[in-house]
């Protein structure tokens, strides 16, 4: 029993050291007010997460039309290179050297503790971080499908609204307004969304509401007044 405990004790100590190092690194990167470049220079046990960070900044720059991140970009790449070298070269090497040094000894050498602590850290942490990341990502994907549907609904409603406005302008007689709505509804039969049209001959307007079975409680309405200064007014409700 005592021998078994003696076998596990160095590993428990190494694990504890690994946890302390990981906590320290997390503290440094989150608590101190570091610039983005400096934060990227702190070694990370999941270097591909750092790549996602770069990719995100690139995507945001592309989105906003900015292109002034080359200094950050180069700094970040140096940081990731350091992480990769530490993780895949230095730490495994130290671990093997430490193990070789400790085999003949009753107690493992300090090099073994250093190597094992880091080795445990770089094998356990990625699994935890990866699992959490996948879990969180499921929500992101779900939310993006939701907002994509909303965007498509708005664009389709906008398109229908322009068609309706044109058709009203082409009318010789406003009493034929209900005919316009019937024609539009006929055109929309193939749409995957539901439309509701309400005509108001008093001010030559049509209100079109779009809804979807996919997103309950989300509706958006356009009121079209082709003869007023503001032709379209939009109103959405959840």
């Amino acid at each position: 029993m005592k021998e078994k405990t003696n076998n596990w004790l160095p590993w428990l100590s190494a694990l504890l050291i690994g946890i302390i190092i990981a906590a320290l690194l997390t503290f440094i990167s989150s608590s101190l007010s570091l610039s983005r470049t400096s934060a990227m220079l702190i070694p990370n046990s999941v270097p591909s997460n750092q790549l996602v960070w770069i990719s995100t900044i690139e995507s945001i720059n592309e989105f906003s039309g900015e292109n002034s991140q080359s200094h950050f970009y180069k700094g970040a790449l140096v940081g990731i290179t350091i992480s990769i070298i530490l993780m895949f070269v230095i730490i495994p090497f130290i671990y093997v050297k430490g193990t070789l040094q400790s085999e003949d000894k009753e107690n493992p050498s300090p090099l073994w503790y250093v190597g094992s602590a880091f080795m445990l850290m770089i094998t356990i942490l990625p699994v935890i971080i990866g699992s959490l990341s996948i879990y969180r990502y499921q929500n992101v994907e779900e939310r993006s499908v939701f907002s994509r549907t909303q965007d498509n609904m708005r664009l389709e409603l906008m398109d229908v609204s322009f068609t309706a406005a044109e058709q009203i302008l082409e009318l010789d007689d406003i009493s034929k307004l209900s005919g316009v709505s019937a024609e539009i509804l006929g055109q929309l039969k193939s749409s995957e969304y539901q439309f509701m049209l309400v005509t108001n001959p008093a001010d030559s307007s049509i209100a079109i509401t779009i809804s979807s079975e996919e997103i309950k409680d989300f509706k958006t309405t356009t009121t079209i007044k082709p003869y007023s200064e503001e032709i379209f007014t939009y109103n959405r409700s959840f």
């Binding site: 790549l51 990769i84 495994p92 671990y95 070789l100 770089i122 990625p126 996948i134 906008m158 032709i231």
Partner: protein
């Protein structure tokens, strides 16, 4: 110098270079794959070096487990992160295209609808011309090189609007190019000289207003 330290230096330079060189050329995901391959080779060599000297069977097993776990978990997380980054990039591009499409419709298509409205209201007059009505409607906003200045000047940094008069068929078109929206064909030559950007064509004629996405 001992052979193992030589190996360490070569691996440091090799693995670091395998990532950094492609990454500096903008191919950082490719760099990471190359670094992973280099690392797997290095770990194999370190394992061979260690296992030929290890005296305990446990040391071999533990080392092999650690190294395998390191490569497998890093590869899996890499694959997931690559997918996530691409998804994010495409999503942001899609959002940008949606926003720009909406802006073009609410600015340009609405204005051409107003031109059409004027045409409908004046159509009882003889010789009512769409081109003339559109030219009068936009007035000083039609500038040199067929450029149309948007009513909202803030849009000038994100869009280029070009107009075209077609007197023979009495129609007036506006090409809207969204400078930050990439679109279907990456090699598409936009009318303002840029390449692969979202471009729409909105035309007002006696038949109404048509709006189509060209790229």
């Amino acid at each position: 110098m001992k052979q193992d330290y030589k190996l360490l230096i070569v691996a440091t330079i090799g693995v670091g270079g395998a990532f950094l060189v492609p990454a500096l050329l903008g191919e950082y995901w490719l760099g990471f794959i190359l670094a992973l391959i280099g690392s797997a080779i290095f770990l194999g060599m370190v394992y061979r070096f260690g296992s030929s000297r290890f005296k305990k069977e446990n040391s071999k097993k533990t080392t092999l487990t650690f190294f395998s776990l390191l490569i497998v978990s890093s590869s899996l997380i890499f694959a997931f992160d690559y997918y996530k980054a691409n998804f994010q990039k495409e999503l942001l591009r899609e959002i940008r295209v949606t926003i720009d499409t909406g802006v073009i419709q609410s600015e340009i298509r609405t204005e051409l609808l107003e031109v059409f409205r004027e045409y409908q209201l004046s159509s009882k007059q003889e010789n009512a011309s769409i081109v003339q009505l559109a030219t009068d409607f936009f007035g000083k906003r039609l500038v040199e090189a067929n450029k149309l200045k948007p009513e909202n000047e803030d849009l000038e940094k994100d869009f280029t609007f070009l107009f075209q008069e077609n007197s023979d068929v009495d129609s007036f078109s506006i090409y809207s190019i969204a400078e930050h929206s990439k679109s279907w064909d990456k090699k598409f030559e936009n009318r303002n000289g840029s390449v692969g950007k979202l471009q729409t064509k909105t035309t007002v004629s006696k038949g109404g207003v048509s709006h189509e996405r060209e790229n």
